[in-house]
């Protein structure tokens, strides 16, 4: 079991958390203007990278707040966790550059 670093509560056990899929998938600005294809993309399509992935987690049995994490889907290692709206941490940007 992993320790996941909640940006508010600090490191807590994995069982306290709930996974929320890809981060920063924004609701469309003008929903009525979307084509069927664009709706399909918004509702059903998500990235599925083999490597660093920015995703949402919630500290479900702790502070119950949502936060963002960048996790490597090959190793499951959390490269960083950060509050929603904060910039992606530098360590993750460097990691992504190395991977690319």
């Amino acid at each position: 079991m992993q320790l996941i670093h909640c940006p508010w509560c600090g490191p807590r056990e994995e069982v306290e958390f709930h996974y929320g899929g890809q981060a920063e998938v924004a609701y469309p600005d003008d929903p009525a203007a979307l084509s069927d294809r664009e709706w399909a993309e918004f509702v059903f399509y998500r990235d599925n990278p083999k490597g660093p992935f920015a995703e949402r987690w919630s500290h479900a049995t702790g502070c119950r707040k949502w936060f963002n994490a960048v996790r490597d889907t090959r190793t499951y290692e959390f490269l960083a966790t950060y509050r929603v709206g904060d910039p992606v941490p530098a360590v993750v940007r460097r990691h992504q550059e190395v991977s690319a």
């Binding site: 079991m1 069982v15 399509y45 599925n48 083999k50 889907t73 090959r74 499951y76």
Partner: protein, 408 residues
């Protein structure tokens, strides 16, 4: 039930050739698991197409084919799913003869337990849908569950009491390695090249056609490319700039030590997330739902196993003293409607077979048959046509979350 292991066949003295890849093939199948090998077999057998390579990045059938729980059933809810899975089950029933190879197909039946009033309603509905589709199915009471599988705890005192079950007597298990080897041997005999240790790293493209694949063993030209890469499908299609609504998750399974025959059928429970059968040698084979997060690591989180074992021991108190022998994970490709994605891609000579999620093994001969037809004719076989990628745009989903049986 006979003595466990008594009927395991001898290993053959010859498996298949291990050829160098040629410069070009009419069909290049990416993925040397069950689906890729079955597709190769039926391309040769049903369509006479043998200028084919099956590329496998590791060793043949060493991915999900070696990591699954080998359950075979066709009791899905919707007509589209019943058609493909029942086609597959009928092929399983003649597969040993077709392949000329033992696969230890054992039709011991499956019980899908219901634990709540809503479970009961959904289950009875599914039984009636199955009957209308010519799939064998019946609704059985808790007492009948006990008759079919005496070690199930049908007490009313447990957290999720058994309220009954659907029963498909023709369901069963098979020996996954032998299934793969049977398909591989027939494909090899037909002249198809099975190329191991050959990872696809890219594609060569000319307009809306793919002309070949780049691999760790050099470039290979291809008339048609057919993906059979399960959890890695979206990684491959990403190289072509094609997005799919697939998410890759670890799906864990485990086995106990070898035990005497105690479990004569298959028991699945959607609500408490465990399913169990007893392998030919005697291991209890158990699976659960997928791990929640995306992953490619072929392992999962321990707390998933802990919850699965808690459910198993409540349903089967006799398991409490069984020892866990080993656990593992496959990487499954999950879709939003829990149904596969098969057929055309935006590239006219690239076909996709993916999204089987937790249920790909049972489909092996059926999808091999239909995918070979799709490749040979350049158009989807009628059984796979409903599973086209464009259903996520048209909205014609095949929602099998209920009948897919485990959470994903």
């Amino acid at each position: 039930m006979s003595t466990p292991g008594a009927h395991l066949p001898e290993h053959p003295d010859f498996l298949w050739r291990n050829p160098e890849p040629r410069k070009t093939y009419d069909v290049v199948i990416i993925g040397g698991g069950g689906h890729g090998l079955a597709t190769a077999h039926y391309l040769a057998k049903n369509h006479g197409i043998t200028n084919v390579a099956v590329l496998e990045k590791g060793w043949l059938a060493g991915g999900n084919m070696a990591r699954n729980t080998t359950l075979i059933r066709s009791n899905y809810l919707w007509d589209e799913s019943a058609a493909i899975y029942e086609h597959s089950l009928k092929l399983w029933e003649g597969l040993e003869e077709d392949l000329g190879y033992p696969i230890l197909f054992s039709q011991r039946g499956v019980l899908n337990l219901a634990h709540t009033e809503q479970d009961v309603r959904d289950s009875v509905r599914r039984v009636e849908a199955n009957k209308l589709n010519g799939v064998d199915a019946e609704w059985v009471s808790p007492e009948q569950v006990k008759e079919i599988c005496p070690i199930v705890n049908i007490s009313g005192d447990i957290r999720y009491p058994v309220q009954g079950a659907t029963y498909q007597p023709r369901a069963g298990i098979a020996k996954h390695d032998y299934v793969a080897w049977g398909f591989a041997r027939r494909a090899d005999e037909a002249g198809i090249d099975l190329i191991q240790d050959c990872e696809v790293t890219g594609f060569t493209v000319d307009g809306d056609r793919v002309t070949g694949v780049r691999t760790s063993r050099g470039d290979i030209g291809a008339g048609t490319v057919a993906l059979c890469a399960a959890g890695h499908t979206s990684v491959l299609l990403e190289m072509l700039g094609v997005r799919t609504p697939l998410q890759s998750h670890p799906l864990q399974a485990l086995v106990s030590e070898l035990l005497k025959p105690v479990h004569p059928t298959i028991v699945m429970s959607n609500a408490v997330h465990v399913y169990v059968s007893q392998a030919h040698k005697g291991e209890l084979v158990m699976g659960a739902g997928v791990d929640a997060y995306n992953g490619y690591g072929q392992r999962g989180a321990f707390h998933i196993i802990e919850r699965q074992m808690a459910a198993a021991v409540e349903l089967f108190p006799v398991f409490a003293r069984a020892h866990l022998l080993r656990s593992w994970a496959g990487i499954v490709d999950v879709t939003p409607d829990a149904s596969p994605i098969v057929g055309h891609t935006p590239y006219e000579n690239v076909f996709v077979n993916s999204g089987w999620g937790t249920g790909g093994f049972k489909a092996t001969p059926g999808i091999g048959w239909c995918y070979a037809h799709t490749i040979a004719h350049g158009e989807p076989h009628p059984y796979v046509a409903p599973f086209a990628l464009d259903r996520f745009v048209t909205g014609a989903l095949v929602d099998e979350h209920g009948a897919a049986a485990v959470a994903h």
